[in-house]
């Protein structure tokens, strides 16, 4: 709590000082509150924690962006789950022209559409939750959604349509023990890299002139990933669940994304293939694993006020892959149906029903959720 207060005081001070200086930083943000209930979630399932019905404040997200004599700064700080404080983004950048913008710092890894378009700030995203596989690293995520390093981006107009790209080079992620020391999580290696191999990534998309409303994109990501710490007893029964002591993986992520809007209907989908090569597999053992994750989202806007939606998502992780085994990833299929009501351009209320089918749990279960979100 003391850390949170210090950071909030720091942000407030920056804001107040800026008011009296020649540069007027504008502090903006997002906030949300929600209620989630899962009356039939089996024990040990992903919905177990909401079986009592939970009111929760989601994320308080504060951000500022400004250009100071052509040097661009963007900072984003969030307080989530009551007491977790994260410096989500901090970049310094320079724009040469439309086709080249350079940024240094911590940014959203250019993987697909959702991860850069709807990162934090749930008011912006169409659904209450992100697709499960796009969860943040410290929330059980399986993709490296943050990177610290160098980021190049731009927009190039061609006869065929506008091409947008984002290319990155930075610290690769690592696997480490979670804060409660009961599981393992991905970490983005914020202040140092635990190996010499850097991660590289690229996302490129085109909005073809010939088909208005269509955007097609591809992503690629390469990294070497090792563990820093490792919890071997993942279910807390005092016996090791992992048959290995360390993780050393070459990871290749390939993604394809599509979004299409026609009149009031929008369709968006992303597919990722995650190939991991185990560099320390015992001789004769399988050392190459491929898993997949995807979602498809359909929305229909009624006068920009009411937006019913349906999302289908799936994670299919290889049971033998040390990456997914150490992260405790379960295969899951989820169908979410909901309705968003835009109170005004800054605020919305969403109601959602989610049907979940988790591989390692016998029963399916249903979650109900309501969320009120605001941009300020």
């Amino acid at each position: 709590m003391k850390r949170i207060m210090c950071m909030l005081i720091l942000f407030t001070t920056v804001f107040l000082l800026s008011v009296s200086s020649s540069y007027a930083f504008e502090l903006n943000g997002f906030a949300d509150v929600s209620f989630t209930a899962s009356v039939d979630a089996p024990e040990g399932s992903l919905g177990d924690e909401s079986k009592n019905g939970n009111f929760a404040f989601g994320t308080l997200d504060l951000y500022l962006a400004q250009s100071l004599e052509d040097i661009e700064i963007l900072a984003e700080l969030i307080v989530e789950m009551g007491d977790v404080l994260d410096l989500e983004r901090l970049t310094l950048g320079y724009t040469f022209d439309d086709s080249l913008k350079v940024r240094f710092g911590r940014f959203h890894t250019p993987l697909g559409i959702w991860n850069t378009a709807y990162h934090h700030g749930v008011e912006l995203q169409p659904t209450i939750n992100r697709p499960e596989f796009l969860n943040f690293e410290d929330d059980g995520g399986i993709l490296p959604v943050h990177t610290i390093g160098l980021y190049l981006s731009g927009r190039i107009r061609t006869g065929a349509g506008a091409i947008e790209y984002g290319a990155m080079y930075g610290n690769g992620p690592a696997i480490d023990v979670s804060e409660d020391e009961k599981s393992n999580v991905l970490i983005p290696n914020n202040i140092s890299d635990n190996n010499t191999d850097k991660a590289v990534g690229l996302h490129a998309s085109i909005a073809p002139e010939a088909v208005s409303g269509l955007k097609i994109g591809v992503s690629g990501y390469l990294s070497n990933l090792e563990n820093i710490g490792l919890v071997k007893d993942l279910d807390g029964d005092s016996t090791d669940d992992l048959a290995f002591d360390s993780v050393d993986i070459d990871q290749t992520i390939i993604g394809a994304a599509l979004s299409y809007s026609i009149a009031d209907v929008s369709l968006m989908g992303e597919y990722f293939s995650i190939a991991n090569k185990d560099n320390i597999a015992p001789a004769g053992a399988d050392d190459s694993f491929t898993s997949s994750a995807y979602y498809a989202l359909l929305t229909y806007s009624i006068k920009d006020k009411w937006i019913p939606y349906i999302m289908y998502e799936n994670i299919t992780a290889d049971d033998e892959d040390p990456y997914f085994v150490s992260l405790g990833t379960s295969d899951i299929t989820r169908v979410s149906g909901g309705l968003r009501y835009n109170i005004n351009y800054r605020s919305s209320i969403k109601g959602e029903i989610r049907s979940n089918d988790q591989e390692d749990i016998d029963d399916t279960w249903t979650e109900y959720a309501v969320q009120w979100a605001l941009a300020f």
Binding site: D98, T116, H119, G121
Partner: protein, 146 residues
Amino acid sequence: MNKLRWSIVLGLFVLLMYGNAHSFAREISIISHKDYPSGTITAAKVKEIYLGEKIAEGTVKIKPMEQNDESIKKKFIEKVMGSSVDAYKAYWIKKFFQEGITPPTAKTSSSDLIQAITQTNGGIGYVWSDDVKGDVKVLLKIDVGN
């Protein structure tokens, strides 16, 4: 004879209405700093600039400005941007957050905007055509109706 008389009356009425409609039709001018690298601009490019998609003209950083005056702002957003005011504002919340691109700077009046543009290299803005004055370049005129 009666037919001829009625035809003349109807013709005069149509001419009168046409003239009235044009006398009320208003025009928005897209203006820029005098050193802006281009002498003209298309409506499509104006839209890209005010959506934060086009941020430079050659090596000159574009600094778009808009007006707080609701009457011209609403006309500009609806007729040039092809959007509702609320959708435009929501778009900029998203754009600012996602990419850190700052929205167009708001000015209180046409004269404030013109003054700011004359002092800002890469400055671009919109005013009623009747209000254009001073050392600015008119890149485009757009008829926005009544």
